[in-house]
């Protein structure tokens, strides 16, 4: 048996003892009083679960407020069992929490909950997304007219689009710390644009054609195709809005994917 095989076995047994059911079986690996050792193993169990729970609470404060502490902690525990962290950085733990909630039977009565979680994760990702230099507008102005329809625009790395059949932005806004939790709308879909501007994450509700246009640009479609997503709709104001708020950061012409 190599060193790492022996160590791997011990560490796997430790993990099973702390997170699984077989605590007592680990006693043979411990020095000193076995009873005290096993009670202290529970310190680790508690710390591990608390760290995971805290990380999720920090990333999903609105979901936590919506369901309350008991429900959230139980969901966090079950999520940790189903999808334990695959990396050491807890700031990146929770990417699949929305998908977990969508399938969580006890959340079935709140079909909008998973989409609220998706919006919170988009906010969370946007805050930590890469910085990027702004669009070179002088270069953009020099693109010959013939190449303009083929332009592909590159969105800032912090831009996210969250599309929901539920009024998730109203729910999100109503559950910010200074609000009492009552949403201003109780039905209707929300398409939410998420981006970072001057180091703050901002959210805005988009009209359906606006969302379709942003989605097309984000997917790397040429301007002519993106503009044609919805007929008889002028994309100019939306495009200008993207420029105004620093959401455009590059472009390419022809078939080249923007870099």
């Amino acid at each position: 048996m190599t060193v790492t095989e022996g160590l791997a076995r011990l560490q796997a047994q430790f993990a099973a003892a702390v997170l699984g059911e077989d605590g007592a079986g680990f006693a043979r690996h411990l020095a000193g009083d076995a009873g005290a050792g096993l009670r202290r193993l529970a310190i680790y169990r508690n710390a591990i679960l608390a760290n995971r729970r805290r990380a999720l609470r920090a990333a999903f404060p609105v979901v936590a407020r919506l369901v309350g502490d008991g429900f959230f902690d139980e969901a966090a525990l079950r999520y940790g069992e189903a999808c334990p962290p695959g990396g050491a950085d807890l700031n990146r733990y929770g990417a699949t929490f929305a998908a977990f909630l969508a399938a969580y039977p006890h959340a079935a009565a709140m079909p909008w909950l998973a989409d609220v979680a998706r919006l919170e994760w988009a906010w969370h990702e946007s805050l930590a997304a890469a910085d990027a230099p702004g669009m070179d507008f002088a270069a953009l102005s020099r693109v010959p007219e013939g190449e303009q329809p083929g332009l592909r625009l590159l969105l800032h790395p912090s831009v996210r689009l969250v599309r929901s059949a539920w009024p998730v932005l109203s729910i999100w806004e109503a559950n910010q710390p200074d609000r009492d939790g009552t949403p201003d709308r109780e039905d209707g879909a929300d398409d939410v644009l998420v981006w970072r501007e001057a180091q703050r994450v901002l959210l805005a509700r988009l009209a359906p054609p606006e969302a379709a246009f942003v989605d097309a640009v984000a997917r790397g479609l040429a301007l002519e195709e993106a503009a044609g997503i919805t007929d008889a709709w002028d994309f100019t104001p939306m495009l200008q809005r993207l420029a105004l708020h620093g959401m455009l950061c590059g472009f390419s012409t022809g078939d080249r994917v923007p870099a």
């Binding site: 796997a12 690996h29 193993l41 529970a42 050491a88 807890l90 930590a128």
Partner: protein
């Protein structure tokens, strides 16, 4: 690579504090003279955004210590190269005075347990840890400090006293030691060992930083919570430690129930006073 920041080193006669989001505004306003600021490396692994912008701003005025909680130096899993790459990227960006990690493990079979778990202290594990410390130092292109952790359980397979184990990692790899006086104290109380024997086993020239912290007394022993003032016994042990080691950059850790900046600065000032009197005693001794 050209430096983006003025080189700054911690002042061994002064304590530093942990940099926490809750204090960003207050620190930026008051700009207190501090030996150094310490952050948890992983909290600045973002690709961009405000956390890094703030850290760069503080780095312009202060020496920064990157203290990692996730590299899992003692794990049987392979080193997470992506995690290490992010640490290297952050170190390149911030130009820290110190980079430290824990002598522990936290992941197995790809699952991360988000806690600093204790290692058995054996010859085999010592060799394994030394290999990994060496490979981390090579990847980062710099020396790191390794910290002794709080071990709530001890293994039957341990054959080397903890102090000797830590000292040997430093001797074999050239890394430094981050001596956590609170962890040494808690282990000695929980397991009936002698904290000063642990400290005496270390080579003073390798100790590059000291941590102090508060904990809690429970039915199952002392617990290292980082959420309370430093125990009086830990202050006393700190005094004895620096009498042996000389003045070392010191940090009071406070990570949960974070108090007002003033409370943190007052704890740091206590450490300053002990460091100052130790230096004075040493110079009187030298003069006599």
């Amino acid at each position: 690579m050209t430096a983006r920041f003025p080189p700054r080193a911690p002042d061994p006669r002064k304590a530093g504090i942990g940099l926490r989001t809750a204090h960003f505004e207050a620190l930026a306003r008051s700009r207190p003279a501090l030996s150094f600021l310490e952050v948890h490396s992983e909290n600045y692994f973002a690709d961009g955004g405000p956390s890094l912008a703030w850290l760069e701003r503080f780095r312009a005025d202060h020496a920064v210590s990157l203290h990692g909680v996730g590299l899992s130096l003692g794990s049987a899993d392979p080193i997470d190269r992506e995690h290490l790459a992010r640490l290297a990227r952050l170190a390149g960006r911030i130009e820290p005075a110190l980079v430290s990690e824990h002598l522990c493990w936290s992941s197995i079979g790809g699952e991360h347990l988000s806690e600093l778990l204790p290692l058995p202290y054996s010859e085999e594990v010592l060799a394994h840890v030394c290999d990994r410390v060496a490979s981390v130092q090579e990847r980062l292109g710099r020396k790191i400090l390794v910290e002794n952790v709080c071990a709530y359980v001890r293994y039957a397979s341990s054959t080397i006293p903890e102090g000797e184990f830590v000292a040997e990692v430093a001797r074999r790899t050239g890394c430094g030691v981050l001596l956590d006086v609170n962890n040494a104290w808690i282990n000695s109380v929980n397991h009936g060992t002698d904290a000063m024997r642990f400290i005496d086993a270390l080579d003073p020239s390798t100790v590059g930083e000291i941590h102090l912290a508060g904990g809690e007394v429970t039915a199952d022993g002392l617990v290292d919570t980082h959420g309370a003032p430093v125990f009086p016994e830990v202050w006393a042990l700190f005094e004895k430690a620096i009498a042996r080691l000389g003045a070392v950059p010191t940090l009071v850790e406070w990570d949960v129930d974070i108090p007002e900046l003033a409370v943190l600065l007052a704890e740091a000032a206590k450490a300053d006073a002990i460091l100052a009197s130790s230096i004075e005693r040493a110079s009187r001794k030298a003069a006599a």
